[in-house]
């Protein structure tokens, strides 16, 4: 190790989280391997290990998908089972990639990866075109509110880099996207295996004049840029250092939480929900240091002028922007558990930091992702997606998921197993 280059400056565009999805074997894991390889995020020793493993498996080149398929079972079967996270930087931005599995039976893991993504790359095998699983993942990406969609038509090398194939797949995708209400996807023809249009342009796809995949990533707006302006701060923990040696802290009461959206400044009026009591912000601390204001995604401690009774699970908002209390929810739900959803059971519903008991009032319909139709249903099995109504034991103060992912999402927990069994998006 020697001779320093310039410091990697990666602060300009902050951070972008994206996932790769699409049908089985469309090349998601290979694409991530390619991205990491061509941005020099794979180090020499890791590459050597990959090369040795590939040789042992009788492959000609280096199988870049081995990089993210980190579980023994995945390497045995040559498929992705659970999400893998990987990191790279381009010099201007840090990227967190989630490699999602393509297999239908692992859809719940894809949903996990999609919930935090700012952008989804949907891969399509150029030979096979739009598949059921392509539609399914595009729909899920849309349902989970991922603001940017990039459709990468992969394996262009196997269709002679034919512009017509790319154009046809693009038309097919747009037809079905319109049906779903998806607007504004970007399309790029690539070869993940050989690297064309991923980071380097390559010589084979010169008819394509648009941006490469990495160029698309570099200019995509991050989640911060797409959050709404209303102030929302769920309380995670109340800091009361009464026993501290410092008597000045005896009356200290700090409300700790993350600003999920909007901004707040010292002096602003705030309301605590569900109580509806109001006060003003006396101080904002970030990392223990006073600040005049705070914005989205910052973890803060708020001190108020009055001693309100606030605890974990409460929501801090501006008095003129308070969301209405709701004891009935209309929502889309992805069922994640082996044991089916039962209308006769209670589940624990977690919304922000608040937990309430919930039960299903009615399943309105199940969404058949293959036929793209709505089906009547009385039960939901693993990976099913439905629109339903829930009744809650206590009210929560949600926003519609479409306008605020953080305050419009919930999970259902089965209290007998403690498992997370459902992922919900409030309508």
């Amino acid at each position: 190790m020697s001779s320093p280059h310039a410091f990697p400056e990666i602060d300009d565009h902050g951070l972008l989280r994206f996932l790769t999805c699409g049908s089985v074997d469309d090349g998601k894991s290979t694409l991530i391997g390619r991205l990491l390889h061509d941005t020099r995020a794979i180090l020499a020793d890791t590459l050597e290990t990959l090369a040795a493993t590939s040789r042992r498996r009788g492959l000609d080149g280096v199988d870049l998908s081995l990089l993210t398929d980190g579980l023994a079972a995945e390497r045995e079967q040559g498929i992705t089972i659970d999400v893998a996270y990987r990191y790279f930087t381009t010099g201007t931005r840090k990227y967190i990639i989630a490699d999602a599995p393509g297999h239908e039976q692992y859809t719940r893991n894809m949903v996990t990866a999609a919930s935090n993504a700012d952008l989804a790359i949907i891969l399509i095998d150029a030979r096979r075109g739009v598949q059921t699983q392509t539609r399914r993942h595009a729909y899920l990406a849309h349902l989970l509110g991922i603001p940017n969609l990039v459709v990468a038509v992969n394996k262009m090398d196997l269709v002679d880099h034919d512009a017509e194939v790319f154009a046809r797949i693009r038309r097919d995708f747009l037809d079905f996207a319109a049906w779903l209400g998806i607007e504004g996807a970007c399309f790029v023809p690539i070869s993940a295996l050989h690297g064309d249009n991923v980071v380097e342009r390559g010589p084979h796809l010169d008819w394509y004049r648009g941006p490469t995949l990495v160029e698309l990533l570099e200019c995509a707006p991050s989640a911060q840029g797409t959050r709404p302006d209303v102030f929302r701060c769920p309380v995670q923990y109340v800091c009361r250092p009464r026993d501290s040696a410092d008597p000045a802290l005896h009356d200290y009461r700090g409300y700790m939480g993350r600003v999920e959206s909007g901004a707040i400044a010292v002096g602003d009026a705030v309301m605590a929900l569900p109580s509806g009591r109001t006060s003003r912000v006396r101080d904002i601390q970030i990392g223990g240091v006073g600040q005049p204001e705070a914005g989205p995604e910052q973890s803060v401690t708020l001190l108020l002028e009055d001693a309100l009774d606030i605890s974990r699970g409460d929501l801090l908002v501006r008095p003129d922007q308070a969301p209405a209390p709701r004891r009935e929810l209309e929502a889309h739900l992805c069922w994640l558990a082996e044991r089916p959803l039962s209308a006769s059971r209670h589940y624990l519903l977690r919304h922000t930091t608040r937990e309430v008991r919930a039960r299903v009032a009615a399943i309105e319909h199940r969404i058949d992702l293959n036929a793209l139709t709505h089906q009547p249903a009385t039960e939901l099995g693993m990976n099913d997606i439905a629109r339903l109504r829930l009744r809650l034991a206590q009210p929560i103060h949600p926003d519609p998921y479409a306008s605020n992912r953080a305050t419009g999402a919930f999970v259902l927990i089965d209290e007998s197993t403690n498992d997370t069994v459902g992922a919900g998006m409030i309508l």
């Binding site: 290990t49 493993t53 023994a72 996270y85 719940r108 914005g295 997370t420």
Partner: protein, 307 residues
Amino acid sequence: MTTLTPSRTRTLSHLDWLEADAIHILREVVGQCANPVLLFSGGKDSICLLRLAEKAFRPAPLPFPLLHIDTGHNYPEVLAFRDERAAELGARLIVRSVEDSIARGSVVLRDPGESRNRHQSVTLLETIEAFGFDACIGGARRDEEKARAKERIMSLRDAFGQWDPKQQRPELWSLYNARTHPGENIRAFPISDWTELDVWQYIRRERLALPSIYFAHYRPVVRVGSRLRPVTPLTPAREEERIETLRVRFRTVGDITCTAPVASEADTLEAIIAETAAATQSERGATRFDDHTSESSMEERKKAGYF
């Protein structure tokens, strides 16, 4: 009412984002778990973790004790650093050693020279049980190893400490589920999404003190393949090995028997950051003797209760 510019014009720098995210996770652990503990070894990742915990809960003292599982084979300067740092923070530091598990008979070494690294899991489990901890906060990062890249931020372990990679709880949005049944525990990883470079950049930004062995120093070593093995009373040179005194630093600090230094001239944080950015060897690849036994040695160890 404020006249703040709307959110779309603000972007947190990547370090600010990572810090805020880690603080959010730490506060979730404390908000959800009755009896958490933070694993603090004196290594760079846990030094960052400790700083994040400080920033998360200021001005209150840390709402959990610190725990170190000592293999008995740690560098004395790292242990001294560990103790100083804990004392400085007024934190309660619990130290348990693999030696005690050996004395109790719960750890049996194949031979006295065997690395005690993987046996930490046993001592950790015994400690979790004795104190009734329901969550252990650790500084593992997903970029370290391919099995770690798969693990949830709040990862459930059963009563035997085992990780089941095929039955991980779905972890959506930031709605972490840290619920446990008696006997089970959560391993929480607030710096999951940090890379080695992020850690070094954060250490520089926060001006964090580090044990001296992270900086370039002269040390007797022998070459073992592409790696360097430090020559210590625990790891003496074999007869056929040639001892050289090289300028080295540690990229990761752990059990003496399985952590190797790298040749380096970097004696400042700036130089270390520059080297890290230009590194051609991965952190564990360059420095660990325990990850290379098979393609899935980390996965196997995690399934058996390892961090």
